[in-house]
């Protein structure tokens, strides 16, 4: 038994690690503009303030570290690219570096842009007339855009625009020169002789001081980092919401088994009679009803002030008494369970019918056992075996359903949490909720495998 558990863990743990790496890697593809919008637009006008703000949140979210233990990149790229905290500038620098193969020249180019920005700020404080102020604010927008552009063609268009602004302004010789410098730096990038460098693969080693390492270390201690929205710790929010979702899932699972097994047995005992056919076709149809439509229909019929107002429309987390809390849970629970009941009861029926053709059932009948005893003790016990392995499919379905159902019934659980996070690209939250629910599902699979093995050691799900 323990040998089997150990073996199973030997497959489970590497799989978990692999998934965590893959999901974390994909999550870093997500845009971080939500984070930048924290540093408000006012601050953007003042470059250094904006920079300081970005730097602070960058540090908080540990974005200033390399991604992984090692990286496969091109020879032209520096291994310090992760230190750039302006995500747009970082993308631009990466692309320019890829085109030119010459990192120092890209650095020079960004330095000239910075000089242009500084010169712009100096000159702007001098001008008084309204019309030239307008020119200056247009120019500022162009310069900000310039910092995030990685395609030479687009940069040139912006530079043309800036030079167009400056054309008739004789007093702004300084700015003209600085723009010319940017153009020269760009030219050097465009005609760099080092282009071959980006076609050489290069391997750089970063060690344990990287983003994945610190994330997985935090995850093992249930420390999921901070929300991109308001830098609040995710832990506390999850602690508050976890038990709601978990409670609903637990009650639903129990309900599914309590209802679907007797239903399946009842259908199997009335095989091919009217009740079996009727329940079979109803359950088959229920399987195709989308959960959100079911939830809406229930709301429209039973929580509608214009029709029937039996149940409250929303889940009440802080209900005054128990009965009203239970009343508010009934509609969500129906929506949670009906799909799994439809699947599981049909499976129970089929499993039982398969078993009932076996010899030992005939023997049991011949012994003169009561029908109830035959079905529940001899039939069901053996029919349960394939069901254990199937029943774990209930869990991912429930967790998936939690997003929809919590959204419809306003349940403050993990489902609504991840849904709002998805809408706002709040990556740390998505990562945290996905990891927790994914881990629980994988754990469920592990348990079911072990249970199946315990019920029948002949079934070995691992090949030797």
């Amino acid at each position: 038994m323990w040998k089997y558990v150990l073996k199973r863990l030997g497959v489970f743990l590497p799989g978990l690690l692999l998934i965590s790496m893959l999901v974390f890697y994909l999550s870093t593809k997500s845009p971080v503009n939500e984070l930048a919008s924290q540093c408000n637009v006012e601050a953007q006008a003042n470059f250094s303030e904006y920079e300081a703000c970005l730097k602070r949140s960058w540090k908080l979210h540990k974005l200033d570290k390399p991604l992984f233990y090692f990286a496969l990149q091109s020879f032209a790229e520096p291994d310090t690219l992760h230190l750039i905290y302006d995500y747009r500038q970082k993308a631009a620098a990466e692309e320019l570096c890829h085109h030119s193969g010459d990192w120092p020249k890209v650095q020079d180019y960004f330095l000239t842009i910075r000089q242009l920005d500084n010169a712009h700020a100096r000159e702007r404080s001098r001008v008084k007339t309204f019309s030239s102020r307008e020119v200056f604010s247009h120019m500022k927008a162009e310069i900000i855009a310039l910092r995030g552009l990685g395609k030479v063609k687009e940069i040139k268009a912006r530079l043309d625009q800036i030079q167009l602004f400056l054309q008739n302004q004789d007093s702004l010789q300084m700015l003209k020169e600085d723009t010319e410098k940017v153009r020269k730096a760009l030219d050097e990038i465009e005609h760099s002789p080092n282009k071959w460098k980006s076609y050489i693969p290069w391997f750089s080693w970063y060690g344990t001081d990287n983003r994945y390492h610190s994330w997985i270390k935090g995850a093992l201690r249930f420390d999921w980092g901070y929300s991109y929205l308001d830098n609040s710790p995710i832990n506390e929010e999850i602690k508050r919401r976890f038990w709601v979702t978990f409670g609903f899932s637990l009650i639903s699972t129990l309900l599914v088994f309590l209802i679907s097994i007797p239903l399946g047995v009842w259908a199997a005992r009335n095989k091919d009679k009217l009740p079996d056919k009727l329940s079979g076709s109803i359950l088959f149809a229920l399987d195709s009803v989308p959960a959100f439509w079911m939830g809406l229909l229930l709301l429209m019929t039973f929580a509608n002030p214009y029709l029937l107002k039996i149940f409250p429309a929303e889940y009440m987390a802080h209900a005054p008494d128990l009965s009203s809390k239970i009343a508010s849970m009934i509609l969500p629970l129906i929506t949670y369970t009906y799909g799994s009941i439809a699947i599981l009861s049909r499976m129970t029926r089929n499993a039982l019918l398969e078993v009932s053709e076996q010899d030992y059932i005939r023997t049991a009948r011949a012994k003169g056992l009561k029908e109830n005893q035959v079905v529940w003790k001899h039939g069901m016990r053996n029919a349960l075996l394939p069901m254990i392995s199937i029943s774990v499919y209930v869990l991912p379905a429930l967790f998936s359903g939690s997003v929809i159902i919590e959204e419809i019934f306003n349940i403050p659980g993990l489902g609504t949490y991840i849904y709002t996070a998805v809408a706002l690209n709040n990556t740390p939250v998505i990562l945290a909720v996905f990891s927790i629910l994914g881990f629980l599902t994988l754990l469920g699979y592990l348990l079911s495998d072990i249970l199946t093995y315990k019920a029948d050691p002949r079934i070995n799900l691992i090949k030797d």
Binding site: L26, S74, E95, G150, F284, S288, A303, Y419, I430, G438
Partner: protein
């Protein structure tokens, strides 16, 4: 079965002819001696001016001859036709009677969107998403499944040298195939160019990998590295399938859609396909394993037919029959997934889909028609595909009845 086929036929008809059936602009009209087909054109040139055909008020123009579609409503918002019940007499927001030809047969939504027109346009979207998604999932599933089933754990023998060379080969292939070309994927040109970029990348990837494999194969590497060892194809593919299948599918789709920050419908279809190929692969793998042990395959091998020919000409066609029911179920669940994502407003252009209409139904509960009719459409469509899947399965495997 007949019910399912008829229902799907109706939806297919609605989907194919959706422009003929429902549009705010005429199918055909002639104006100042010129002929127009505005229902099929995004923009038209009227009086020398380029105009959007959906926003043009065609009924106010002095048209010489005109053929209107059956339902004179399109995607447009009509504040004067706000939320009208399908029952009883229909009046506009300002109190005028709506003529019978312009009746909202299934009512209208909050912004005056005709529900019947949403159902017609939604059926095109739902069916095309279902079919396209399962096409991709089918390709992935059949490829990987037949690989796993045909080679299993012991039939693909590779030289140690080839196997070890795979490691640098994979690294280089991903560097030149994907890493170097990563800026090409950020095209704004849309799905077709993105798909061609991806195909090109895959081509480079497999070319480099093949190069390294050949390198291992052709050169003599010394006794130890020359030894042939089996590549455990089946174990690896099964493990991958297990892992993907054991994650909550909707959460996976949500997370991926957010990570790539894309609400693009093609992208979402691709994601749905990537989480739903496992059923097909499993069936193909099982069939492959049993078929490749059969007598006629053994006979073919004994006759000296090449392995590739056996695989593609004899084993694969025979094992594909059992894929059909899975495909039918898969289309149903892909439509379900699409409508769920549209309901959660996570796909662009969701007001044109059945699920997107239900979002509106959630807000106002007394307007039952908004949620009822699109929901029935989803249900009927998915239900029909499930019935067809079930019947196909019974047909192919009479024991399971």
């Amino acid at each position: 079965m007949r019910f399912a086929l008829i229902t799907l036929g109706v939806f297919l008809f609605l989907g194919i002819f959706s422009n003929f059936l429902s549009s705010s602009s005429p199918i055909y009209c002639s104006y100042k001696g010129k002929s127009y087909f505005p229902a099929f054109q995004e923009t038209v040139v009227l009086d020398g001016v380029l105009q959007s055909s959906a926003q043009q008020k065609w009924q106010n123009l002095p048209l010489e001859s005109v053929i209107w579609p059956l339902i004179p409503y399109g995607t447009g918002i009509d504040m004067n036709h706000r939320t009208i019940s399908p029952l009883g007499e229909q009046k506009t927001y300002s109190g005028e009677r709506i003529p019978l030809r312009e009746r909202h047969w299934l009512g209208s939504g909050r912004n005056g969107l005709d529900i019947l027109s949403v159902i017609i346009r939604g059926s095109r979207r739902a069916l095309s998403i279902g079919l396209f998604t399962m096409l991709i999932a089918g390709i992935i599933g059949i490829l990987l499944g037949s690989f796993a089933g045909y080679f299993q754990d012991h039939k693909l023998l590779l030289k140690r040298a080839s196997l070890y060379l795979m490691v640098p080969g994979l690294l280089l292939a991903s560097f030149y195939g994907f890493y170097l070309r990563r800026f090409n994927f950020q095209t704004e040109a849309g799905a077709p160019s993105l798909i061609s970029e991806i195909i090109l990348s895959l081509l480079i990837f497999s070319l480099i990998l093949a190069l390294f494999l050949q390198l291992g194969k052709r050169i003599y590497w010394g006794n130890f590295l020359e030894e042939k060892i089996p590549l455990k194809v089946d174990s690896y593919i099964s493990r991958i399938m297990e892992l993907i299948q054991s994650l909550p599918p909707l959460l996976l789709i949500l997370a991926l859609a957010s990570f790539f920050n894309s609400r693009n419908i093609w992208f979402v279809m691709l994601i749905i396909a990537l989480v739903s190929w496992m059923g097909i692969a499993r069936v193909v793998r099982g069939e492959m394993m049993s078929i490749s042990e059969r007598d006629f395959i053994q006979a073919g091998k004994a006759l000296g037919i090449k392995p590739a020919q056996i695989l593609f000409r004899h084993v694969l066609p025979n094992s594909l029959a059992s894929v059909w029911p899975i495909l039918a179920f898969g289309i149903g669940s892909a439509i379900l997934a699409e409508s769920t994502l549209s309901f959660l407003a996570l796909i662009e252009d969701s007001q044109n889909s059945w699920g997107g209409m239900l979002t509106e139904g959630k807000l106002v509960r007394q307007h039952w028609w908004i949620a009822l009719f699109p929901g029935i459409s989803i249900f009927l469509c998915v239900y029909s595909f499930n019935i067809i899947g079930e019947k196909l399965r019974d047909f192919l495997d009479p024991r399971s009845q």
